[in-house]
Symmetry: C2
Subunit: 526 residues, 2 copies
């Protein structure tokens, strides 16, 4: 596919009038062709108008139609697998195997949602039949189901250039719900974004759908995103990124004349509680697994374990020693952008002024602006509890060991935590049984509790919850990964007293779509 550097406004190319910018190869710093042009305000307006226009028909599209569309995008991803991964590699320095895997995750995600909307029961159809003889008064016929919210703005994330970007989970779930999507591309990987955008635009055209269903806007700064979140025709926002940017979007969405839902997935320390059984099982293996988890993707996962609580025990010294050795010997990591690398440098520097730096890879020295070294901090529990900034997420390959006298300190530590995406417990089943209270506290602090695994792997499945209390996300009632993510973009509509033929198929007595429904509060006999 060719890269043009221009936004996609529905089916047409944007102009070259806006401010220009270029991606850079994080490994070499070399600028990458082509030049990209920020969307103009007129183009933003046009994309919003087109999306609202498209919503009129797309909101009524059948599950079959939407499924075919999503599968067409997935097929496009698979067909351009290498091309997508290669461009993403140039723009992010993430390793090719990881990026090839991410293409598969992205197309898999699209197919998951295709399956959900094709099957159709996700709309939560409910029927309360009329009770004409009820006294007083007769009950009318009442039926409800979920319908799409309207045009959604999606912000591409820097750290997953495919799976959380232009055709990632946010776009897939919005399109599956029946909402047009306007994506604001992340400026660090515009080429990957344009390739993905072309694949979606081709699927729109091939399906004979309204071109306003999808637009892709480039922007060097924050103007386009701001304008989109404030635009009266936009009905919801989805974002993955920093706490600062995410909170700014939340505040913009809440300050609108008509506030809209704003899903931001932002900042998480993903605390790990090491229990004695885990240390007994093998301190060296534990250190290796933990090291692998916090340096995966150069530590640029939203689920990176950034806070690790360890009790004093006979194996602790060995565990810490092994971990220090792994960090000492680690090769340097290339982060996504010079800005992210700079921020990693600043944040680790600030942290080292507050608590000891236990280990830092020293050789070879970073050779270029995006290269950084893994770092390992330690803090006593009291220090950790007194200096709340030690719990702040640092984006990159570091972690903080919080040394506790014993696991009886864990309740105090857990109670002090803010919201996180995940909380992990490592130990044996006996440990788990004796720490029920800890689990109950962690349930209030995180969206996903992991036992004897590491949080960095996020399954795209039906039970997954990738969400958690603030500041990990804006709203812990929703997930941004897994099939439940579709529920962010739908609202229930109730039809009272409607004749059969005027009801959506999902609510007609004959149940032509054969979906699961609730009748008078109970599952309908099928």
């Amino acid at each position: 596919m060719e890269l043009s550097g221009q936004s996609l406004i529905g089916s047409r190319r944007g102009s070259r009038d806006g401010k220009s910018f270029q991606a850079a190869n994080p490994q070499s710093g070399a600028p990458l062709e082509p030049i990209y042009y920020s969307a103009t305000y007129a183009e933003i307006e046009e994309a919003a108008q087109l999306a609202a226009e498209a919503f009129t028909t797309y909101s009524q599209a059948s599950g079959k139609t939407k499924a075919a569309f999503l599968r067409r995008i997935a097929d496009g991803f698979d067909a351009h697998r290498e091309e997508l991964a290669e461009r993403a590699h140039l723009e992010t320095a993430l390793p090719m195997p990881r990026l090839l895997g991410e293409v598969g995750r992205t197309s898999g995600q699209l197919r998951l949602f295709a399956g959900v909307v094709e099957e159709g029961s996700w709309v939560n159809a409910r029927i309360d039949p009329a009770l004409p003889d009820r006294q007083p008064p007769p009950r009318p016929d009442i039926r409800s189901m979920l319908r799409p919210l309207g045009p959604v703005v999606v912000f591409g994330a820097s750290n997953f250039p495919l799976a959380f970007s232009v055709a990632g989970g946010d776009t897939a779930s919005a399109l599956a719900a029946g909402c047009p999507a306007i994506v604001k591309a992340h400026p660090a990987h515009p080429g990957t974004s344009e390739l993905a955008g072309q694949i979606i635009a081709e699927a729109v055209a091939a399906g004979g759908l309204h071109p306003g269903i999808f637009s892709l806007l480039f922007d060097a700064g924050v103007e386009a995103g701001t304008a989109l979140v404030k635009h009266p025709l936009i009905r919801a926002v989805a974002f993955t990124g920093s706490l600062r940017a995410g909170r700014a979007l939340m505040d913009l969405a809440a300050a609108r004349p008509d506030p809209i839902p704003c899903f931001t997935e932002m900042s998480s320390g993903n605390p790990v509680f090491v229990l004695p059984g885990a240390l007994r099982k093998g301190p060296a293996a534990l250190a290796a697994s933990l090291f692998g988890s916090f340096t995966l993707g150069a530590g640029q996962f939203c689920t990176k374990p950034g806070i690790v609580l360890v009790p004093e025990s006979s194996e602790t010294a060995r565990f810490v020693q092994e971990l220090e050795k792994l960090v000492d010997q680690a090769q340097p990591y290339t982060l996504l952008t010079p800005g992210i690398a700079r921020e990693y440098g600043r944040a680790t520097q600030a942290r080292s002024a507050k608590t000891p730096l236990a280990a830092k890879a020293a050789k070879p020295n970073p050779e270029h602006v995006c290269m950084v070294n893994a770092q390992l901090f330690t803090a006593k529990l009291d220090t950790f509890l007194m200096q709340s900034s030690l719990a702040d997420e640092i984006f990159g390959p570091d972690t903080l060991l919080v040394r506790c006298d014993s696991t009886s300190d864990y309740l105090r530590a857990a109670s002090a935590l803010d919201g996180h995406l995940t909380a992990t417990i490592l130990g044996d089943e006996g440990d788990l049984a004796t720490n029920r209270e800890l689990i109950q506290i962690l349930e209030k602090k995180a969206g996903r509790l992991v036992f004897n695994g590491f949080p960095t792997g996020v399954e795209v499945s039906h039970a997954m919850v990738h969400g958690g209390p603030y500041p990990s996300t804006s709203d812990p009632r929703f997930t941004s990964v897994g099939s439940l993510a579709i529920y962010r973009f739908a609202r229930p509509i109730c039809f009272q007293g409607f004749p059969q033929e005027m009801l959506p198929a999902e609510l007609q007595d004959a149940n032509p779509l054969g979906i699961r429904r609730i009748r008078d509060g109970k599952p309908e006999a099928s």
Copy 2:
């Protein structure tokens, strides 16, 4: 039951230190005993701390325990039926039959939620079993279900002193979800509130539950409500009332260091579209039904039809004439408070400066400060579209007829609407079939579409949606009436790799509660 005038902080009475106030009989203006005392900041703090403490155990309470608790409250309501209605009548001037009915609605609502949580499937349990052989990598066991959010603040509404107040739908759904509730009583009916609060507190004690599950705070002003919405231990807010107050709470909740969900049900014009078939069927009957609907409860229903679109037809003159006659001859209505009556006077006065007042009941003249007359306004469609304030809700017995040349104007009118709780279409089935586009537009504007009924009746059932786009509510993805209301106060939690015995009963393989679950995206065989 005795009335003390004091808040209920868990199981103990509040102090008499705060600013005092008294309810007044809207019909006579006479103050009603006893004197009520605003909660102090120390009491607000204590209620919040107690609620957080109670959440630790109540969040783990079984569906059976919660159901027994809710039924005990319902039984208390039924046992004190007359007492509740009589006090509510003194404080609100709403007629006794309506208030007796509202007691039944309130206890019915509590029993509806009891049934939902006792059955247990509402938690949306999902199981994605481990796939140890999957390459790469193996899939861990992932299970998720809904868990309660935490302490919820409920604001009692003025217009439903029982069903949307202390033990109303918000409190019932919060308690059903497993959330402690702190209710800020509406100052217009403190006695009714205290009676309801005592019934709940007795049910808490009888069930041996933590007293912090429920507190009831009185306040003459907005201080207690503001402090509660800003309190760090509060996890959600539910409110029914004016747009101004609701938006202020939304803004407070969004500006917190950690924003929390804030459900406000505020302002709705509930547009009614009259189609030719409805006029043909009988203009006089139509006028009588409409008059009954917009004056029900003295026009103080959130679902009052305040905007009625009528096409010119041979029957229109007769319909308007009949309606004018009914308004002319109407007895005066007693509104809930002097403030509400004053605002009705101001708003109708302002409206009459903008568009013709077609009819106004003239005799007998209002005799006291809460008494007002029904009013009927008319506007041409163009006037309505140009003066957006004509679409604003007026709380009280008035409505606005919007005269359209023909029903082909309806698309333009519907497109211009803001969000509403309901939108109604009156006509025959042929009318409905020729107005599919109108229905599609209305679907974007309202949470409930009514065909050939009036919106003022809101069923408490499983399919009901009492919600809609802003400004009718803060969030159209939820309802405040019906069993779906419980979903406002829950969030999904995911357990990864947990051994069976450490999982909540809802997620164990053996399914000891026998609930409906989703396994690998499909309903589990039972």
